[in-house]
């Protein structure tokens, strides 16, 4: 971390960035373990490796601001303030989960936190984020919406429609691209003729910047600029975070695959965003190794408690819960 940035960013924010990343990492590792033990049913898309993006982005937001998410949404919800107990319960399909067991990992959300939903359809969160941003402008409430999406979703129509509409209507939104180089199991260069997603920003009439998505401070700095721009009524921006998925698109494996090499995975794991940041914090004498360990242990204890809570929670009752919340009943 360059010395100038140390002076710009408060210790409080640095700790916040670190804490959110560790919260995501430890939750994801625990969820992966539980999935491999078949205690979590269905598909699971882990955020491990990409923690700096959600954390850097969300620390730049106010609590009341909104985010949209993707199928890889656990990290976004944690970064936006999501609590472990209802998350873990939701992963396990329990009635005490954020979605009462009806959404699961892929649809995890808490609208009260301004989290507009993890989404099973690639790119589909983008137009919804545009709608929230429209409402913020309409109400003149000074809030900003941040749309998280992957490199793969910039190839789908909904993304293009949303990006164009947001720029045409000059909405307070930040387009936050997690370019992890793979659209599911297909390398970016096999399905895109450009290297940088940020190149697309100009086509919509918004600035696009590229940041190191493994450097949480870089992400935070770029997000802060874009959020401020949106809040000031200066319109949308795009940030492309170059990041990497340590595990596969789905599940808890990552090595020995045909679509990417183990060497590549290991190279990226050398640039683990949490390890990098902890090394920077230690070097800058903001947080030493011992303090970092304590934070990990404290968060791990909270996760263990959440697992116990989730395991002891009841399943939804088909006789009672199947047909509730299909519609909003008239009050």
């Amino acid at each position: 971390m360059p010395p100038t940035e140390q002076t710009k960013i408060s210790k409080e924010v640095l700790f916040d960035l670190h804490r959110r990343m560790v919260r995501i990492r430890l939750l994801e590792e625990a969820a992966g373990q539980l999935a491999s033990e078949a205690k979590i049913p269905g598909f699971i898309h882990l955020y491990v490796g990409e923690e700096a993006v959600a954390s850097g982005g969300c620390v730049a937001l106010k609590d009341e601001d909104q985010i949209s998410s993707t199928h890889r949404g656990h990290g976004h919800l944690v970064a936006k303030g999501g609590q472990f107990k209802p998350m873990m319960a939701e992963f396990m399909g329990k009635a005490t989960g954020y979605c009462k067991g009806k959404g699961g990992s892929m649809h995890i959300s808490d609208l009260d936190l301004g989290m507009l939903g993890a989404n099973g359809i690639v790119g589909a969160g983008v137009p919804i984020a545009v709608g929230a941003a429209f409402a913020n402008k309409y109400k003149n409430n000074g809030l900003v919406t941040m749309a998280f999406f992957g490199d793969g979703s910039t190839n789908i129509g909904a993304f293009h429609e949303g990006a164009n509409m947001a720029c045409a209507l000059h909405l307070p939104i930040v387009f936050m691209c997690e370019n992890n180089e793979y659209a599911e199991y297909t390398a970016r260069d096999r399905v895109m003729a450009i290297t940088d997603v940020a190149d697309r920003a100009a086509a919509y009439g918004m600035p696009g910047v590229i940041v190191d998505g493994m450097d949480v401070v870089a992400v935070y700095e770029a997000a802060r600029v874009a959020v401020e721009r949106a809040r000031n009524g200066e319109g949308p921006s795009m940030i492309e975070c170059k990041t990497y998925r340590f595990y596969d698109h789905a599940g808890v494996s990552g090595l020995g695959r045909t679509y990417r090499s183990d060497e590549e995975v290991k190279e990226w794991m050398e640039r683990d965003p949490i390890k990098l940041f902890e090394a920077q914090l230690a070097k800058a004498k903001v947080m030493n190794e011992e303090q970092a360990k304590e934070i990990h242990a404290e968060i791990q204890a909270e996760i263990d408690e959440a697992i116990e809570f989730a395991e002891n929670s009841p399943m939804p009752d088909p006789a009672v819960d199947m047909l509730t919340d299909v519609y909003t009943e008239a009050s």
């Binding site: 909104q66 949209s68 989960g97 954020y98 979605c99 009462k100 067991g101 009806k102 959404g103 649809h107 959300s109 808490d110 609208l111 009260d112 507009l116 939903g117 989404n119 099973g120 359809i121 589909a124 983008v126 137009p127 919804i128 984020a129 545009v130 709608g131 929230a132 941003a133 429209f134 409402a135 913020n136 309409y138 109400k139 919406t145 129509g157 909904a158 429609e161 949303g162 164009n164 509409m165 045409a168 209507l169 509730t324 919340d325 299909v326 519609y327 909003t328 008239a330 009050s331």
Partner: protein
Amino acid sequence: MAETEERIIRYNDAFKETLAELLRDDPDVFIAGEDVGRYGGVFQSFAGLNAEFGDERVVDTPIAEQAIIGLGIGAAAVGLRPIVDLMFMDFVMVAMDQIANQAAKMKYMFGGKATLPLTITTTGGAGLGAAAQHSQSLEAWLVHVPGLKVVFPSNPYDLKGLLVSCVRDDNPTIFTLHKAMLGSQGHVPEGLYEIPLGEARVVREGSDATVVAIGRMVSEAEKAAAALAEEGIEIEIIDPRTLMPFDIETVIKSAKKTNRIVIVHEAVRHGGIGAEIAAQIQEEAFDYLDAPIGRIAAPFAPVPFSPSLERAYVPDAASIIQGVKDALHRNG
């Protein structure tokens, strides 16, 4: 509701007037869609609204149906009451992910937390020579998706009351104008009033057979009823008005009374809403039926362009008369 003197206005004007009244009534209501702003809509259904309410509340959008619906979803999820327009019902398919995977499911998937007071307005139906991609009635696609409400007004009075109910409803609703009825006229009171979603209207009472008619087919059924009455056949006509929720009770009551049912809709017969209605009737009133339930609907082909083909494609009074007679000639 204020029933003053008869005020006869056009179906299209009833739509526009209702929108204006809703915009005046609730600052959280806004309208967005293709050409709805400065131009006033391709059918002038939104004429003058942008001038009165401004670009902020009557919003011209790009030609981007997914983003138009997404705009409505996101805005509704954070507290507004959007009306978003899909110029033609056929464009529902372009936006189907946002409608069926997003809007319809958000509440359920999120454990009840999402409230989506979203109204999607559109124009369905054939009769204008608009051919296969601008003439469809896609209600069967929509009623298959839990979470949506699907509304088909058949006259200006219902149009207003149903539109008000859609906009004030806290669920995603799809409100379908019939583009061949825009110039039709009827009594519409000034001011806002609601017609509950899920309440059918008995358009005409009769004892010989029941015709369940959807959208523009209601007026064709009325023509058929007049002709049949001259032959001494009295049909009961039921206009469901909303296809989800569907007022099956009113239909069952009528089935138990007339014992013969004909369902008429503009959409393709195979897999159409008529099949669902027929299935529900036989589940609830099998022992009362004296004839197989008739379905008068479009043949299994896209909507054709040529006037000669289109006329033959869309059910009309003559085909309804034939359907009723077929039902009457069967002895149970």
